[in-house]
């Protein structure tokens, strides 16, 4: 079998005692691109963070596996080592650590001691990827995300994605704050990753991104659950008609997680 498989089964997640996710089921395989859409505050980022192991989120029920291995038993860095990657909606700023030192540490963290990437090879790869993403070269020597504009942060997340080459990536609103040219560039980067060894979960509010990155499957999240799944045509209809028809279909009045179904 080519590629990895991420399985999310009946996932329930709480923050500070309040239940946010209420039973999410989702399987992503290598070669597949999934899109998750849904109104604000319905649990999309919570799903992404909980799978990656954010310390604030408490898993109250359910399981997550990557290639059969129990993800919930792993530390955050072990999840990354197992092949997971999360492009964050709001990436942290870390002062005093240069972007390139950080990237090199991340790459070497995946390698055995004594088998670290050579500086030459690293620089070449980084230069090439930054060119492709049309990033200013001096971003490499700037402190990690510090003072980066919204769009620059998003490009920087994709730079990391492309250099780390994970098996399964979750991209949380990678398109928010991007102008149309940047959107094209970022999409080009993500599309370049597409092969049978790479699976991706794209969280977005906009069909526009999906015009550039064609999803195989589209899911709609409401009230901390996936309430509808379909093909690319589902995203198209959401763009045209909004979410009301789904709410009517399912008898949902308030889609946010604070409401019980």
């Amino acid at each position: 079998m080519a590629g990895s498989t991420l399985e999310i089964k009946n996932l329930h997640v709480a923050i500070e005692g309040e239940e946010i996710l209420r039973g999410v089921n989702l399987t992503i395989k290598g070669g597949e691109f999934h899109a998750v859409m849904g109104p604000n505050g319905t649990g999309k980022s919570t799903l992404a963070s909980a799978v990656m192991g954010h310390p604030k989120y408490e898993i109250t029920e359910g399981e997550v596996y990557i290639d059969g291995k129990d993800v919930l038993e792993m530390e955050v860095d072990e999840r990354a080592q197992a092949g997971l990657f999360l492009a964050m909606q709001y990436p942290s700023e870390i002062s005093g650590v240069t972007n390139s030192d950080f990237l090199r540490s991340s790459i070497n963290a995946r390698r055995e001691e004594g088998d670290e990437i050579s500086l030459m090879k690293f620089i070449k790869e980084m230069d090439g990827t930054m060119d492709l993403l049309e990033m200013d070269k001096n971003m490499a020597q700037r402190y990690l995300n510090e003072g980066f504009s919204g769009g620059e942060k998003k490009r920087n997340e994709i730079l990391q994605l492309m250099m780390l080459k994970p098996a399964i990536a979750i991209l949380d609103e990678i398109d928010s704050g991007l102008d149309i040219d940047a959107l094209k560039v970022v999409s080009k980067g993500i599309n370049q990753m597409r092969d049978e060894n790479f699976g991706c979960l794209i969280i977005t509010h906009y069909q526009r991104l999906l015009n550039y990155i064609a999803p195989d499957k589209v899911h709609v999240m409401m009230q901390g659950r996936i309430v509808k799944s379909g093909g690319p045509e589902l995203a198209q209809r959401l763009e045209e008609e909004g979410y009301d028809w789904i709410k009517q279909e399912l008898g949902i009045e308030d889609e946010t997680v604070g409401q019980k179904a």
Binding site: G53, A80, S95
Partner: protein
């Protein structure tokens, strides 16, 4: 306390000690006066740190280490601090109070530069040393520890740069405490005469563990005369069993500059005071310090710049990281005296705590007795942001490595600005060791 001081270290002992070293008469007198004062003076009172149970007064005083036949014989931990590839070394190594290695380039000797151990300096340049020794810098009677130091001083160096001489290569002194229980009362004097400049770098090193108790009492006096410049770098790295009192003091005359770059990396209880007196018009004092605390270490750091001269400038920048159960107080004090108009005092203190048991406190203080001045301060004390660690770890970096990156990042803005390359490199190494 008085009882402990007199334990063996009485008038007779001090007299013998001084005579044994062939010291000039003035020095013997100074020691004996100081001994008397030590018995009645109070201990220093560092702001917010209680030191009454710290051991400053129980120690073994008279110990002599062995000479080194070659730098290659240094243990690795010390070798890291020496650049062995240099053709001409301006290097001084003191091993348990004895001169183990000393070398100064011929060209500097020819220019009249003095860089020698305190005892030799006292014998060969008695008047010069007397002029500076505990007179306008640190006073004998400030408190019990200054007096005790004056009575029992047992090591150190004297640096003198004559008028108009620019010393391009740094002078380096290593004070290596090899005997885990030897007490060090080290005295350093650096004098830059008019229109001269010098960079001096020092290291205090020992490897004693917590059970091997030792006492270190260090006084340093730096004088920059008119239009002189002194860059003073230090990386302190004394072991966990050593209780340290270190006071580094600078006096800057007209148009003079004193720049301090201090890596405060001891592993034991430490009081570190760094005062600069800006006496002359247009003088400048700049103190940059980096500290890492670990274990159950308690430390108190004070950087104080006092402005007497008009249009004088004082800058203090302190960054500290506290790990495990370490505690540290950072005091940054800018004092502008009446008459020091057009002066500027700036201070910034930042503390990062890595664990819930670590404690840090930053107190920037401005004391201003003059209207026509500018001043500013900033301080922050915070814990490492869990979101930052999550972000770094989500890329596969272990928690330990993530913390290491955050610490380096926190200290980098200061390390980057240190004016002396050797100190920057040494410090990066020591930080690495303390963080892992």
């Amino acid at each position: 306390m008085t009882v402990e001081i007199s334990l063996g270290y009485d008038k007779e002992y001090v007299t013998k000690f001084s005579e044994g070293l062939n010291e000039p008469e003035w020095m013997k007198t100074l020691r004996l006066d100081a001994l008397q004062q030590a018995e009645r003076l109070p201990m220093p009172k560092p702001d917010k740190t209680k030191i009454d149970r710290w051991n400053f007064t129980k120690f073994t005083h008279d110990l002599r280490g062995e000479e080194l036949s070659s730098l290659a014989d240094l243990p690795n931990q010390i070798k890291d601090f020496v650049d062995q590839n240099k053709e001409e070394q301006n290097l001084f190594i003191q091993r348990d109070q004895r001169v183990a290695f000393a070398s100064l380039s011929q060209s500097l000797k020819d220019k009249g530069v003095i860089f020698t151990d305190m005892n030799t300096a006292m014998r060969e340049h008695s008047d010069l040393v007397e002029k500076y020794y505990m007179k306008d810098g640190i006073q004998v009677d400030e408190h019990r520890l200054t007096a005790l130091h004056a009575a029992l001083m047992n090591g150190g160096v004297f640096v003198y740069v004559p008028e108009n001489v620019q010393v391009e290569e740094p002078l380096q002194a290593i004070f290596w405490q090899e005997d885990p229980e030897a007490a060090l009362f080290n005295h350093v004097i650096v004098v830059a005469d008019k229109n001269s400049s010098v960079t001096y770098v020092e290291n205090y090193l020992s490897q004693n563990n917590e059970e091997e108790e030792a006492v270190t009492n260090i006084l340093t006096e730096v004088f920059a005369h008119d239009n002189a410049k002194v860059s003073f770098g230090a990386v302190d790295n004394l072991g966990a069993g050593t209780t340290t009192y270190v006071n580094r003091r600078g006096v800057a005359d007209r148009d003079a500059k004193i720049e301090w770059a201090l890596g405060q990396m001891n592993d034991g209880y430490t009081i570190s005071e760094n005062y600069t007196y800006l006496m002359g018009e247009n003088s400048l004092g700049d103190a940059k310090t980096v500290s890492v605390g670990r274990g159950s270490q308690k430390q108190n750091f004070t950087a104080r710049i006092v402005h007497y001269g008009k249009a004088s400038e004082g800058y203090i920048l302190q960054h500290g990281v506290m790990k495990e159960k370490a505690t540290a107080i950072f005091n940054g004090i800018g004092k502008i005296e009446h008459g020091a108009s057009k002066s500027n005092a700036e201070q910034e203190s930042r503390v990062l705590m890595l664990s819930k048991d670590a404690r840090g406190d930053a107190n920037p203080i401005l004391l201003i007795d003059e209207d026509d001045v500018t001043a500013g301060h900033a301080a922050s004390v915070g814990r490492v942001d869990p979101m930052q660690l999550f972000y770094l770890m989500s890329r596969g970096i272990t928690q330990k490595e993530a913390e290491r990156l955050v610490i380096h990042g926190f200290l980098a803005p200061v390390v980057k600005q240190l004016p002396i390359k050797a100190v920057k490199e040494q410090l990066t190494q020591v930080i690495e060791r303390k963080v892992n």
